[in-house]
């Protein structure tokens, strides 16, 4: 049972009817299990007009195991780790909940929805989640600052610039006085 047939079909489906706000590219034509996704934050999201790079990697056991998805673009969000390779907390992708018939489109939809509506009760970044709940104004200010800093211009998928921006952002990521 090889996963390539399934992945090929999903890729074909995604290119013939592209999901909204999403562009898919393959970084290497010979490797169908690695996708680069550009996700444009929908207008109703505070991350608009940011563009975010997502790296989708299909494991060997796909679709019996969920795909691995990370944010290649930094984002200030309660459910996405605040680092250069941000992991996402999405119940759909947890081993216990993952169903082999779930398509990548559904997952991408869920991620897009997460940009519109963060889930602060199930956070990966507790401090950001607290801020989101208690000080929405400040949260939005920070989120927008991140968009301006990282999510404008051409999307980059390399994760080599780990230390590049961290010195200047360390002040924003460190827990502030907390309201």
């Amino acid at each position: 049972m090889s996963s390539s047939k399934r992945i090929t079909k999903e890729l074909t489906d995604c290119t013939t009817t592209p999901p909204p706000n999403i562009t898919i590219t393959l970084p290497s034509d010979s490797n169908i299990s690695l996708w680069h996704i550009t996700l444009a934050a929908p207008p109703e999201s505070i991350y608009h007009p940011g563009k975010f790079g997502l790296i989708v990697s299909f494991p060997l056991e796909y679709p019996f195991k969920p795909p691995q998805i990370t944010f290649a673009t930094r984002i200030y969000h309660p459910n996405i780790t605040n680092e250069s390779s941000g992991s996402i907390c999405l119940s759909l992708l947890k081993t216990d909940n993952w169903k082999p018939s779930t398509k990548i489109v559904t997952v991408l939809d869920a991620i897009r929805q997460l940009l519109v509506e963060p889930q602060p009760d199930d956070p990966l970044e507790t401090r950001i989640a607290e801020q989101y709940k208690n000080d929405r104004k400040e949260f939005e200010k920070e989120a927008k600052a991140y968009v301006n800093k990282y999510a404008k211009g051409p999307v980059k998928f390399s994760t080599t610039t780990t230390d590049g921006g961290s010195t200047s952002t360390s002040s924003t990521t460190a827990p502030p006085g907390e309201a």
């Binding site: 049972m1 047939k5 399934r6 079909k9 019996f64 169903k99 082999p100 018939s101 398509k103």
Partner: protein, 528 residues
């Protein structure tokens, strides 16, 4: 934490509120009940502390694998007959209701469709599950669509090829250890796969594992049942002590395999310390492991001549081989001062306030205090191990001795009893130090420390006899001494446990840390 809430509501219902609040009344009456289901073990609960059982003993039953299977079968058959549904479905329903038959029947009588849907059974049919070949079928998982592809669907109709189904089930069962709640592979479908369908789809080896896992859920789903944590032990223990009772009792149970553990937290027997303090203590020990590491070392230096001394038995009475200095391994003090009336090795002397005024001094005192208790805790743990090793060696020699002196096997059993007593008493002593660490200083604590001291002295002297060479051990006078000391140790242990358990049940201990429910249910007046 729910104990607190309930406690508060009880108080307020009797205190400032009018007693027409029926909700609060119920929670006030039933202080042992489980929060959201009827409590079949109520009788057992009321037994605690009332019968001739010692206050530190709890009632429990050990079940072997065949008992566990039989109990499930009985319940499944009952539900199968009463509701007139298949055994597979009865089993799924029971698992959904965590084996609470009464609640299942009640809910089912009220709204059968709702119950079936929630349990992942939706509409029932009696058709046996079967594999089918369907023209034009394309598997939604692997996207295979070749002619003659065998496929399977549960009652929901979500159809997948047999290979995908097998792979999916294999992964769930083998890798994820899931059994009772494996859903249809379709996205968003919560239909549960039943045992008959599973048998049809997977290999015999997997089926066996599946049924084993199903059996496990029976035990894991019930609050009154727990697996014996000993490696390779398949038994389960039933005990009525609930989570919220744990601040008033330390439920040590012992399995047929002879493993003794706490039913509350599954750790090895930790009487007399209640689970909550044990958890705090272990966390503290882990956090402070570096400061305390040197203590549990197997070698120390003689306090007089500084030559290295190795501990190889459990006994804490050390004699330096070089200078013959006799000292106590735990406090490094003179052993002669450990004679009856001067014995003060177990008690931590709080220094009077004046020299602990600044923060630094205070933190030094608190470290010293911790080390005092940790030192003794770790020592008894280590000594129990060394005693055990020593017994293993001794036993070998005893066999030899038996042959030479003509003693029978029965005649040397006193050594095995002595070894057992040393093990259990040291286990208890070890936890008395964790317990004492959290005790506030008062009269009860002094009595506790006296009991601790008596037990410790008895254990140390038995331990010392135990280290004698085999030739001396065979001497009938020493044998009588050992037998006497063994029963004395056991007696001292019972006295200590009895006293601590009684005070715990009555909420009399005052701790120097936060402890849930530290006082017995007070009358409403004492709260105002």
């Amino acid at each position: 934490m729910d104990t607190d809430d309930e406690f508060m509501s009880t108080v307020s219902s009797e205190g400032d509120m009018l007693p027409d609040d029926s909700d609060n009344d119920i929670s006030g009456d039933d202080d042992f009940g489980f929060d959201d289901e009827p409590d079949p073990d109520l009788d057992m609960q009321h037994d605690i502390g009332q019968t001739k059982r010692a206050p530190y003993d709890v009632k429990f039953t050990v079940y072997q694998p065949q008992d566990i299977q039989q109990q499930q079968d009985v319940l499944v058959n009952e539900v199968n007959m009463i509701l007139n549904i298949s055994k597979e479905e009865a089993a799924i329903l029971l698992r959904h209701f965590r084996w609470n038959k009464e609640r299942l029947l009640e809910d089912y009588m009220d709204r059968p469709e709702k119950v079936l849907e929630a349990a992942g059974l939706s509409q029932m049919t009696c058709d046996p599950p079967k594999l089918e070949v369907i023209r034009g079928f394309c598997c939604d998982i692997c996207c295979e669509e070749e002619e003659g592809l065998q496929s399977f669907a549960l009652k929901c109709g979500h159809r997948f090829c047999v290979d995908c189904y097998r792979h999916y089930l294999g992964q769930k069962i083998r890798e994820e250890g899931e059994a009772a709640r494996i859903q249809c592979p379709a996205e968003g479908c919560n239909i549960i796969i039943d045992a008959r369908s599973l048998d049809l789809l997977v290999t015999a080896e997997l089926t066996e594992r599946y049924h084993k896992l199903l059996n496990r859920t029976y035990v894991e789903d019930k609050e009154t049942l727990k697996w014996c944590p000993a490696p390779d032990c398949q038994n389960a223990i039933e005990c009525g002590v609930k989570k919220k009772d744990l601040s008033r009792i330390v439920p040590t149970v012992s399995c047929l395999c002879s493993h003794r553990f706490c039913f509350g937290c599954i750790l090895n027997d930790h009487q007399p310390a209640p689970c909550e303090l044990v958890k705090k203590w272990l966390k503290k020990c882990a956090d402070d492991s570096e400061t305390a590491n040197w203590i549990s070392a197997n070698t120390k230096e003689c306090p007089k001549c500084n030559s290295t001394i190795e501990k190889n038995g459990g006994c804490n009475h050390m004699t330096c081989r070089k200078c013959k200095h006799e000292f106590c391994w735990m406090c490094m003090g003179l052993w002669s001062e450990h004679g009856t009336s001067w014995y003060n090795c177990n008690r931590f002397e709080e220094k009077s306030g004046t020299d602990a005024r600044d923060a630094q001094a205070k933190s030094r005192v608190s470290l010293e205090r911790y080390l005092h208790y940790y030192n003794r805790y770790a020592n008894h743990e280590q000594s129990a191990r060394l005693d055990k090793d020593l017994y293993a060696k001794t036993e070998k020699k005893m066999v030899q001795l038996q042959k030479e002196s003509g003693m029978s096997w029965i005649e040397v059993q006193y050594l095995s009893s002595a070894s057992m007593a040393l093990q259990t008493c040291r286990q208890t002593l070890m936890w008395t130090y964790a317990f004492a660490f959290y005790l506030a200083r008062n009269n009860l604590t002094t009595i506790f420390e006296d009991n601790q001291k008596d037990l410790e002295m008895a254990v140390e002297s038995l331990s010392e006899m135990f280290e004698k060479p085999v030739t001396e051990l065979a001497d009938s006078r020493l044998k009588v001494d050992i037998m006497d000391k063994t029963s004395y140790c056991n007696k001292r242990r019972v006295i200590l446990l009895d006293d601590t358990a009684r005070n715990l049940a009555e909420g009399k201990w005052i701790f120097n840390v936060e402890f849930s429910n530290p006082t017995p249910m007070p009358g409403p007046s004492s709260r105002k």
